[in-house]
Amino acid sequence: MSQATLRIQKMSGHAGSVPGEDTQRGLTVCKLIDTTTCIGCKACEVACMEWNDLPFGETVFDNTYQTMPETRWNYWNLILFNEHVREDDGSLMWLMRKNQCMHCAEPGCLAACPADGAIVQYTNGIVDFQQANCIGCGYCITGCPFDIPKMNPKTNRVFKCTLCSDRVTEGLEPACIKSCPTGCLHFGTKEDMLYLGGTRAKQLQEHSNYPKAGVYDPQGVGGTGVIYVLHDASQPELYGGLPANPHVPWTVKLWKGPLKWLGNVAMVGGLIGLFVHYLRFGPKDRDEADTNAGGAKS
C-alpha cells in the first residue's frame, strides 16, 4: 500500500507519537450521498460485498425495501428505508439512506479503543480498523454514535466500512460510488463535496419545494467523511434514525480524558507517598528490640 496516501495521523491506544502526525496533507476525501436521488436499488450494497469479498448472508424481509434491520460485521453498507408522510401536503415519501461508517474527523471508536493501532485515521481522513491489532473488547461499539462497528462473534474482531481505503490508495473511487446508477453517490475532496451538496440543497430549496433541504455534516464529531443531502435537514432522524446532533458519549470522553489523568496522578502519587512514608516512619515495630535490621519479621 502506498504510504504516501495512507499515512496515519491518528492511532488508537498508542503511547508516543503517531507515524503521520504533523505531516502535511491538505486534502481529505469525502463521500456525498444525495438521499433525494437514491432509488434504493441496493447496487451499492452488492458492490460493497463484491469488492470487499464479504460472504453472502441471509437477508431479513420485513415488508419494506430494506435488506436487513442493521449492518453486520460482514455487511457494511445498508440502505435504510422509511415511509414518511410530509406534514405540509400529506404526500408520501420513501426515504432511502445509504448507511455505513461516517468516517468522523474525531472518531469515537478510535478514542475508546485501548488496543495499539487497532483503529487508525489516515491523513486523507479515512478511519480504518486494523483487525490484526483488534483485541475484541468492543469499546469502539460504545464510542460510536452511529452504531457502526460490528463484532465477528467467531473471531472477536470488529469490522466496518473502510471507505475502500485500498481502492482510494490506488486513485479509485469506493466500490459503492462506482456502482450507483442514479449518480446520487459522489466522491472527492471534502471541500468539493460540501460545495456540490450545498448546490444541490439550494436547488431543492428553490426549485423542488423542499425549503428545509440541507447538507448533513455533523460538527459534534468534527464533521464527517460521509455527508448527506437531505430533503429535510431539520429532521435527520427520519432517515433511518440518523442522529441530529451526534457526539462521542460524554462518559467516554470523561473516561478517556480527566478520569485517566486523575487516576494516573493518584496511582503514581500514592506509590510515591507510601514510599516516602516508609522512609520517614519505617515499620511499626522498630521501638522494641529490633535485631532483624531491615528484614521482614514473620
Binding site: A15, C137, G138, I141, T142, P249, Y278, D285, A296, S298
Partner: protein, 220 residues
C-alpha cells in the same frame, strides 16, 4: 485443616485458618491479574502489560473470567468476615486517632479487635467496588449484545468500571504497604496462618484479650 489440627510453635496464635488463607490468595492472584490486564486496557502507556501476559486478545478473553474468580472469592470473604467487619463505636475513635496510627504511635491508638477500622474500610470498599465491577463488567464483557436502545448501559459501564477499579487500586496499595512493609508479621500470618503474641497485643489488643483467656476457644 482447622485450627485445632494445626500445630503451632509456642507463643504463636492462629489468626487465619486454612480456608481463610486460601480464599485470600484466590482473591489476591485473580486481583493481580485483573489489575495488570485492566491497567493495559486503561492506558496506552500500560498496554505492554497485555503483550507481556500473552497478547491483547488473550488478556481481553481471560480478564472477565478472572473477574468471576475474584468475585467468588469476595463473596466467600463476605460470608467469613462480614460479621467481624461491622462498624462499632470503637472504630470512630480509631479514625479520630488515625494520625497516631500513621505516625506509628500505636500505643496511643484505641484498642482494635480482630480488625481495626482501617481494615474494615478495606473490606467494605473492596466488597462494594467488586459488586460495581461485576455489574459493569458483565456489560463490558458482551457489549455487542446490548441493544442500541439500551446503549446508556454501556456509557455508564465504561465510566463506572475504571472508577471503581481505581478506588480498589488505592485500597490495594495501602493494603500491600500495611501488610508487607508496615506491620511486620502480617504477611506471614496470611501465608502460615499464625502471628506472635506480641503482634496480637500490639495491633489487635481487643482480639488478643478475647482469645487469650481461653486457649480452647475458637481463635477468631
Amino acid at each position: 485443616m482447622s485450627h485445632q489440627e494445626q500445630r503451632l510453635p509456642h507463643g504463636r496464635i492462629l489468626r487465619y485458618e486454612l480456608h481463610e488463607r486460601l480464599t485470600h490468595w484466590a482473591a489476591a492472584f485473580s486481583y493481580i491479574y485483573l489489575l495488570l490486564t485492566g491497567l493495559a486496557f486503561y492506558s496506552p502507556w500500560c498496554f505492554w502489560l497485555a503483550i507481556a501476559l500473552g497478547g491483547g486478545q488473550i488478556s481481553r478473553m481471560l480478564h472477565p473470567w478472572a473477574g468471576l474468580i475474584f468475585f467468588c472469592a469476595v463473596i466467600k470473604m463476605y460470608t467469613m468476615w462480614a460479621a467481624q467487619m461491622r462498624t462499632t463505636e470503637a472504630d470512630k475513635a480509631w479514625w479520630n486517632a488515625v494520625g497516631h496510627y500513621m505516625r506509628n504511635e500505636d500505643d496511643q491508638m484505641p484498642p482494635a479487635g480482630r480488625y481495626n477500622a482501617g481494615q474494615k474500610l478495606l473490606f467494605w470498599g473492596f466488597f462494594w467496588c467488586s459488586l460495581l465491577l461485576l455489574l459493569t463488567g458483565a456489560i463490558l464483557w458482551f457489549p455487542e449484545y446490548i441493544p442500541w436502545s439500551l446503549r446508556f448501559l454501556r456509557y455508564v459501564a465504561v465510566l463506572i468500571h475504571p472508577s471503581a477499579a481505581l478506588l480498589t487500586i488505592g485500597l490495594f496499595l495501602i493494603h500491600i504497604y500495611m501488610s508487607v512493609f508496615a506491620e511486620r508479621g502480617a504477611f506471614g500470618s496470611v501465608i502460615r496462618g499464625d502471628v506472635s503474641e506480641e503482634f496480637a497485643k500490639r495491633y489487635h489488643p481487643g482480639w488478643y484479650k478475647e482469645i487469650a483467656g481461653d486457649s480452647s476457644a475458637p481463635r477468631k
